[in-house]
Symmetry: C2
Subunit: 351 residues, 2 copies
């Protein structure tokens, strides 16, 4: 029996105890920890301890052996929480961490390296036990510094080129392939791509996915139809779209690197009285909240950001509980959501 | 001179020092505090200390006298960060707190009293110095408990009936008045209201503002045209809208208590093939991100959530630096944003 409890499948978990005691796992965690027990209602603590006893629960011995003075706090670095992509990622992180008694400490960095460094210093002074960051470049000196400091690091939504750094992301290449195949299936041949910043894996991998999928579909991508937006924003997306259209290579569809860039394209189409989708089809990426309520409702790639956040938290807990474990990168399968911003190219719809 | 420095207007602030040293105020704060100085680059710390010396900066003596072992952390309770109202409020809180060297620690409560209490316990164990909460009911036992614990409490977006509890909110009554006056000005007489939950000041005050404004405009509100939504969500808003229309009192306009409820109304109008605005006008409240991109673009009340958050942080800093000061409630002036979801009532537009 003792041996069987060592294996993951048979071991009684904190969640089992919480369920048996009918409390939140965070509460169970605090009740089981002598340092934090006083924060829990005494009657509740008694119920949790009884349930743990009854089920034969014992805390993960590797995790317990690690440290004695724990903060139970994980720093979370986000570019900007007002970007609608990040709230569900943060919820996923928070909900998964909380199940194991950890609390996220979030800061906005605005992708500003100085601010990132200040936030990291603040978090270090708060004795966080690890950092989950959505702000990393593909090669990021700050992440290297955090790794050097001995803290666990997990990337979320973006990954680094170095596969030794844990990361949870959507499968960006596969997602962009879905967009290209959808457009090619509608009959488009002159498909343009507005990439996001290439120093971020999201921008880079989606562009790679675009080029690969075009070739696999038998369409040689026209270099004049691939532009790079300076940021994943509506205004920079609009700027990139103007540049693209001014080149005069007349795309019939644009696969944008995210939904905000796609909205920037919508603005340029309005400026220039180009009808979407009858004259130009647009696809986004992320399926941000309310994407189905825009004019026209946006065809896009759904990435399940809550699950991406929860997966990042899972990787952080792995790193904390077993620091010697092999780092993993998790890529979540995206999904095409067809709405009203895509249709056949004008030569076909007229014909 | 010494006396003049005691007054707020002439006193050299942390921000003055930060500006002179060309660093972020958070960095200046850490450099000036012996406990946290090691977190700052030594060259930067030297520049900050020189600037402080030169300007004659001295830390607020009342604040410094308070405590010796400071966490510099403020707990922030939010119902749900994926509700688009809250990210900018949180940014406002974070940016203002950071200027004075404080860090927010945010948790989502889902308006669930048990979860609120767990989050509060977690924050207490993290030794937060105060709590900013967006989750309070108009009479809230948890807030009373926090007050009893001796911590500073500031409400944000919602307030309590008790004026002794600090709060920063939009002026909800004035905002709803703007909506009613706009609709009345277009010629509407049968104006309906879908209220938010009345246990929250936002829902309650907006309904009061609706009733007052109707009477002041010479329109006796029809009780059959006032319904209450069970939550500030699209699905509950849709439910309330169905109930309203099923009563058969044929409103020509609906003033919704927030933008999500207004979007729920959009869904019901689609279900029932009612045209907006030619058959029924809709107004929202908040001017959430992308409200101008919906079908039709939403006429709503802009509340400047970033500034509401910053004002709440300001009140928290007042409470920390001068605990004996008279609590204030700040109400920020809202603004009408006219888009395409409102127009004259059908009898006028046909005539």
């Amino acid at each position: 029996m003792a041996v069987r409890r060592e294996t993951n499948s048979a071991r009684v978990t904190l969640r089992d105890v919480a369920r048996a005691a009918d409390v939140h796992p965070g509460t169970a965690s605090r009740a089981l920890n002598a340092e934090t027990r006083s924060l829990v209602n005494p009657e509740t603590a008694r119920r949790v301890l009884e349930a743990a006893e009854e089920l034969g629960y014992r805390p993960n011995p590797i995790a317990r052996g690690l440290k004695t003075n724990r903060s139970y706090t994980i720093g979370v670095l986000i570019p900007d929480i007002t970007n609608p992509l990040f709230p569900p990622i943060l919820r996923g992180i928070e909900d998964r961490l909380e199940e194991d008694g950890y609390t996220p400490l979030m800061a906005n960095t605005d992708n500003d390296p100085e601010r990132e460094r200040i936030d990291w210093e603040t978090m270090r002074s708060r004795q966080v036990e690890g950092i989950i960051t959505a702000t990393a470049d593909r090669t990021d000196p700050l992440v290297e510094d955090i790794v050097d400091s001995g803290l666990g690091v997990v990337l979320v939504n973006r990954r680094m080129d170095d596969p030794a750094v844990r990361a949870a992301t959507p499968d960006d290449r596969a997602g962009m392939r879905l967009a290209v195949e959808h457009l090619a299936g509608l009959g488009h041949r002159r498909i343009a791509h507005i990439a996001g910043p290439l120093e971020f894996s999201s921008g880079f991998d989606r562009r790679e996915g675009f080029l690969e999928a075009m070739r696999d579909t038998g369409l040689e991508p026209d270099p004049e139809l691939v532009v790079v937006s300076a940021a994943f924003t509506e205004s920079e997306g609009a700027q990139a779209c103007r540049e693209l259209l001014d080149r005069g290579h007349a795309p019939t569809a644009i696969a944008a690197s995210n939904d905000l860039i796609a909205l920037g394209c919508y603005d340029v189409l309005l400026e220039r009285s180009i009808a979407c989708p009858s004259e130009l089809s647009i696809t986004g990426f992320n399926d941000m909240p309310f994407a189905g309520r825009f004019q026209p409702p946006l065809t896009t790639i759904r990435i399940r950001p809550y699950e991406v956040g929860a997966a990042a938290a899972e990787l952080m807990l792995e790193a904390l509980q077993d620091p010697g474990s092999q780092p993993r990168q998790i890529q979540l399968e995206p999904q095409l959501v067809v709405r009203e911003s895509t249709g056949p190219p004008p030569e076909l719809s007229r014909g």
